[in-house]
């Protein structure tokens, strides 16, 4: 099983001919992901180390059966690329690109929901289901296959926690980066719902950070509906209000979105929150009864 990406994933890389798209697209293929096509307008007919390139996503879907898109096109063109993927029938869109204007994302968010599309990002590291597929920029070698679902707003922090889990002998079902922008395609709850329905996933780790109230909402969901043990980590306890901390979405507005508020909300629902990545991994290990 696993969620979002797996052996059924047939990936089209939008922006495959760009340097980043090429690097990560081929890296994903090397991992075993079925990278079936690339799309770069005007470069249809070319190929990137054997991966055929098309002018439009519609062609990639029709000719190669692509069902998942990874978006690597520059921010000013990324929103259009996402709409194109959705309108071509792609059901999972993973947008690595960062810097898409928040208003564009409001519209995209509303639109993809009406179409039943799953989207990660923008500004996300992608999703990795160890042993099955890797779509995005997550360094797969850190992770091993297992029963822990990991969902995070951050890339490197995820690697850090994944690394600590691996050192404790624990593996992952799927590692999901939802992205660090103020509006992203999937909320924590969306991903937690998928973990709930995934038989491979037995435990869940949620890695949040300051800004917004998705962690607070997720706390309610975890208590009421997840039905699996969960542990959380929150970054940004020492962040000052009104400052954007690297991620466009990581900002304390007035008194809302603080790490402490999120921690309190989680603990009030009986969810343990680690103070450091190390402690968080240890909490999972304790739950999972690892060595």
């Amino acid at each position: 099983m696993a969620i979002i990406v797996d052996n059924d994933t047939r990936l089209v890389v939008q922006g495959l001919t760009g340097s980043e798209g090429r690097f990560h697209g081929l890296r994903n293929r090397a991992y075993g992901t079925k990278v079936v096509a690339g799309v770069t307008p005007g470069k249809g007919g070319q190929d990137v180390e054997g991966v055929p390139v098309f002018d439009t996503v519609a062609e990639a879907a029709a000719r190669e059966g692509a069902n998942t898109a990874m978006v690597f096109v520059p921010a000013p063109f990324a929103a259009d690329a996402i709409y194109e993927a959705v309108d071509a029938g792609i059901v999972t869109v993973i947008c690595i690109t960062e810097g898409i204007p928040a208003h564009e994302m409001l519209r995209i968010h509303t639109y993809i929901r009406s179409k039943g599309v799953t989207m990660l990002g923008p500004n996300c590291p992608g999703a990795l289901s160890p042993g099955k597929a890797n779509v995005g920029i997550i360094p797969a070698e850190i992770f091993s296959e297992g029963s822990i679902g990991l969902v995070s707003r951050s890339g490197t922090l995820t690697y850090q926690i994944g690394h600590e889990l691996t050192q404790l002998g624990l593996g992952n079902s799927t590692i999901v980066g939802i992205g660090g922008d103020p509006v992203v395609g999937s909320s924590f709850i969306d991903v937690l719902g998928k973990f709930r329905d995934d038989p491979q996933t037995e435990y869940v780790v949620m890695v949040g950070e300051i800004g917004g109230d998705e962690e607070e909402k997720a706390a309610v969901f975890i208590e009421a509906e997840l039905g699996k043990p969960a542990v959380a980590y929150i970054a940004g306890f020492t962040a000052p209000p009104g400052k954007t901390m690297g991620h466009a979405g990581a900002i304390i507005s007035g008194s809302s979105g603080t790490a402490q508020a999120k921690k309190d909300a989680l603990e009030a629902r009986g969810i343990q929150v680690g103070t450091t990545p190390t402690e968080t991994a240890q909490l999972v290990a304790d739950l999972a009864g690892a060595p």
């Binding site: 000013p76 519209r107 917004g212 909402k217 000052p240």
Partner: protein, 380 residues
């Protein structure tokens, strides 16, 4: 990006929202000239990116150009909540019969723009929300469907505005505010107070305006409004060098890769008993030059007494980071000791490079926690 009151009002005016006539002044003499040009009574208003100007003495009425000059002299240079006043907005004084409140915010939770309107304006909206919640009307707008005139009516009638001319003027302002908000990629457009004059004219008397940084590329005119001098000088330097940097108050300079890990690093320093001097994110793909740039910003802070490098290589290659550190040590004078923790992609090679070069004052630690403790010790 936050805009000054006068910049927000310029954008309001561009979309047809009525504002008072005014002029910018940066010296007492300019303030006098502005008052003369505008005529009649004027208000001298400190332009700072924070609230509480009134209480801090940053807003004064002047009935003559002389008085305007005097007020300007008093207000320029004032420190209002850590912001030094360097610009003034000289504006035609308004007679105020009523004070309303109107805002449009980017509601992250609901994923929709959110209107808030109340006839109880002129005070902090949080206060109204607490003491008189029924007086505050909320309305979300579907971002795909866009704004419709009925939404303005719902706000105006819902808040109990009864005068037909006011109803009409405010409904029109509401529509224009939505247009402003979407057209400018705003995250916040607040008018507080939205005044009604004794002759029944409705006008925006203040503005609070925040624009999405990610959208500035398509608004070069708004991007130009940024006042680089108002920012913390280190943050301004960082912006220039394209380094993601936020100044904090402590002594441990922090540098991580990725926003989440960098925030976590700052936290860990705090939990280890230290005080972080900054947040600094090397970004996802940090190369050697990026490391040099980041270090050059961090070390410019005289408070910094140790530097903590926390890298988990994914796309970032640890060997490249190690080379960047050595390069920076050659190019910049760095007196503070550096603690480095490298993990992930090419971390062994990275550590080897550092250990082989063994520059003085550089410490390599095996884990994030160990490294944090060491950096805190060194800063003590």
């Amino acid at each position: 990006m936050d805009l000054y009151e006068y910049q927000g009002k310029q954008l309001f005016a561009r979309f047809g929202i009525p504002v008072s006539k005014g002029q910018l002044a940066e010296t007492p003499e300019e303030a006098r000239a502005a008052a003369e040009a505008i005529g009649g009574s004027v208000v001298v208003k400190a332009q700072v990116l924070t609230g509480g100007r009134g209480k801090a003495g940053g807003i004064k009425l002047a009935t003559t150009p002389d008085e305007a000059e005097q007020h300007a002299r008093a207000i320029l240079g004032l420190d209002i909540r850590g912001h030094v006043v360097r610009r003034l907005w000289i504006e035609s004084a308004s007679d105020i019969a009523k004070e309303y409140y109107l805002s449009l915010t980017f509601d992250r939770g609901a994923k929709q723009p959110l209107f808030m309107f109340t006839t109880q304006g002129g005070v902090e909206i949080e206060e109204v929300a607490e003491t008189n919640p029924d007086a505050l009307v909320y309305l979300h707008v579907d971002p795909l469907e866009g704004f419709h005139p009925w939404q303005a009516r719902r706000l105006v009638y819902g808040a109990g505005v009864t005068d037909p001319s006011e109803q009409k003027q405010i409904a029109s302002i509401i529509g224009k505010l939505y247009e402003t908000f979407v057209s400018c990629d705003a995250m916040l457009c607040e008018i507080n107070p939205l005044i009604v004059t004794p002759d029944g004219e409705v006008r925006a008397l203040d503005s609070k305006f925040t624009v999405d940084d990610n959208a500035l590329y398509r608004h070069p005119d708004i991007a130009e409004m940024r006042d680089n001098e108002a920012a913390d000088p280190l943050e301004a330097l960082a912006r220039e060098k394209n380094v993601t940097y936020v100044k904090l108050d402590g002594e441990v300079g922090v540098l991580g890769n990725g926003a989440g890990l960098s925030m976590s690093t700052v936290d860990v320093v705090t939990f280890a008993g230290g005080r972080p001097a900054n947040f600094c994110d090397l970004g996802g793909g940090g190369d050697a030059q990026g490391v040099v740039d980041a270090l050059s910003v961090i070390t410019r802070d005289p408070q910094v007494r140790s530097i903590f490098f926390n890298i988990f290589g994914g796309i970032t290659r640890c060997d490249e980071v190690a080379r960047g550190i050595l390069q920076a040590l050659e190019q910049i004078e760095i007196t503070a000791p550096i603690v480095v923790r490298l993990d992930g992609t090419n971390s062994e090679e990275g550590r080897r490079i550092l250990v082989d070069a063994a520059p003085p004052g550089l410490h390599v630690e095996p884990t994030m926690l160990d490294a944090a403790r060491r950096a805190v010790e060194l800063a003590a």
